[in-house]
């Protein structure tokens, strides 16, 4: 479905249109479930999170109109933020990363992916200007939900050092992205 199609569905959901909500779920749940699975690492928590996320989407749909962002980015941000909250709230324990995942081949709209590729090249180019370990830390945080604690122990540095590292990396990234 096109971004315009998804925007329209979200707008209709904000008017309490349940048919649009069904269609929105049908067209976006795989992407958001992919986010949940990657960050939470197991099916049970990912399923619970997906439920909470669509309840939030129903309740917050009216905010999309003022969000000034692409519909899929808005939805993914809701999903990521929710999953990271769940991750931060849970007790530390090993995540099961080996569960089988039924991955769907992404089939982005060609025009959309050309734009997305330009933007992706930009963030990737800018990440490429960081030291590889620091770029990995930034990617790991965004895509896997790594906390400062997790990053510090993985990179074997004290927590505060990690925070300094990452904040410096973010400043460099910003210069590159906005420069």
């Amino acid at each position: 479905m096109t971004p315009e199609g998804i925007s329209e569905l979200i707008s209709r959901v904000s008017l309490r249109d349940r048919t649009a909500f069904d269609a929105l779920y049908a067209s976006t749940s795989a992407k958001l479930f992919g986010v949940c699975w990657r960050i939470l690492g197991n099916r049970t928590e990912a399923e619970d999170a997906l439920q909470d996320i669509y309840v939030k989407i129903w309740n917050k749909a009216d905010r999309f109109a003022v969000a000034d962002t692409s519909p899929i980015s808005w939805l993914v941000a809701i999903a990521r933020n929710h999953c990271i909250d769940v991750l931060r709230a849970r007790k530390p324990g090993p995540a099961n990363l080996d569960e089988a995942v039924d991955v769907i081949e992404p089939s982005p709209d060609p025009e959309q992916s050309a734009v997305a590729m330009g933007e992706a090249r930009r963030i990737n180019d800018c990440l490429g200007q960081l030291e590889p370990a620091r770029a990995d830390a930034v990617r790991g945080a965004y895509l896997n939900g790594d906390s400062y604690e997790a990053l510090a122990s993985r990179h074997r540095v004290p927590l505060n050092t990690m925070r300094t590292w990452l904040r410096r990396s973010l400043m460099k990234l910003k210069e590159c992205l906005e420069g």
């Binding site: 479905m1 315009e4 199609g5 998804i6 569905l9 349940r18 048919t19 069904d22 269609a23 779920y25 067209s27 749940s29 795989a30 992407k31 992919g34 399923e47 997906l50 439920q51 669509y54 309840v55 969000a67 000034d68 962002t69 692409s70 899929i72 980015s73 993914v76 941000a77 990521r80 933020n81 909250d85 931060r88 709230a89 995942v101 991955v103 769907i104 992404p106 997305a116 933007e119 992706a120 930009r122 963030i123 990737n124 930034v138 990617r139 945080a141 965004y142 895509l143 790594d146 906390s147 400062y148 505060n160 300094t164 990452l166 904040r167 973010l170 400043m171 990234l173 210069e175 420069g179």
Partner: protein, 235 residues
């Protein structure tokens, strides 16, 4: 702003807190504080939105994973109090039951039609339609209850496409097709029709299913092939 501070200080400022929030690295207490601040501080919310824009392209790396449909039923249950379907509903889910019902309903429709000739017709409460199309393996059956405005549709033969959605359309007279939604399950998909739409569902109205991109036609008008169509009859 492009000066890098000396190595022994932790850089700070709202912009970095916004970036940390978007990245997700903060501990739970700080995350909650930041989330509250986003709600109340517009300038800060803008910083967060800007960082979110910067990182959006990484979203492509989240691979889609198909989500089980029962999750949507649970969402509906939480939001609308609709009944979450029990794990097993053998009769309702049985194709044989539905085929039987389809024939019984059609038989009733025929009897009803004959009766209307000799009796003053009263507005029907239930409507049925059997949907099929030449060259298509898909056969579906629809039952509409005018009092509850619920339209139940089931696929009695043929498979649901894996990588497309089947979208249901109502065509009243010469009007353009009106989307009623997409089929969610080969067993029973229930559509609750708003009153103005329900009013269009009468003797002679056409119901049709088309193959559309996942989630339904992006334009609001049918774009794909008709896999099944049929005329509605009151019973």
């Amino acid at each position: 702003m492009s000066t890098t501070p000396p190595d022994d200080t932790v850089p700070d400022g709202d912009d970095l807190v916004a970036a940390e929030y978007v990245l997700g690295v903060l501990p739970i207490d700080e995350r909650r504080d930041v989330a509250r601040r986003i709600e109340t501080d517009k300038d800060f919310a803008r910083l967060v939105a800007r960082w979110q824009d910067h990182f959006d392209p990484l979203n492509d790396q989240f691979e889609p994973v198909s989500a089980p449909y029962h999750i949507k039923d649970q969402v509906d249950h939480r939001l609308f109090g609709t009944e979450a379907p029990p794990l097993q509903m053998p009769l309702w889910n049985s194709v044989i039951f539905w085929r039987g019902l389809a024939f019984a309903a059609l038989a009733l429709a025929l009897i009803g039609f004959g009766r209307d000739i000799i009796q003053r017709p009263t507005p029907p409460i239930q409507f049925v339609a059997s949907m099929a199309a030449d060259g298509s393996p898909v056969r579906t059956m629809a039952i509409f209850d005018n009092q509850t405005r619920k339209l139940k549709v089931t696929v009695v033969a043929g498979d649901m496409p894996q990588d497309h959605s089947l979208e249901l359309w109502l065509i009243a007279g010469n009007e353009s097709p009106l989307s009623l939604g997409i089929m969610k399950s080969p067993q029973v998909t229930e559509f609750t029709l708003p009153q103005p739409v329900a009013a269009k569902l009468q003797n002679g109205t056409t119901l049709a299913l088309t193959v559309e991109p996942v989630g339904g036609s992006p334009s609001g008008a049918p774009t794909g092939a008709i896999v099944a169509a049929g005329t509605v009859r009151g019973i």
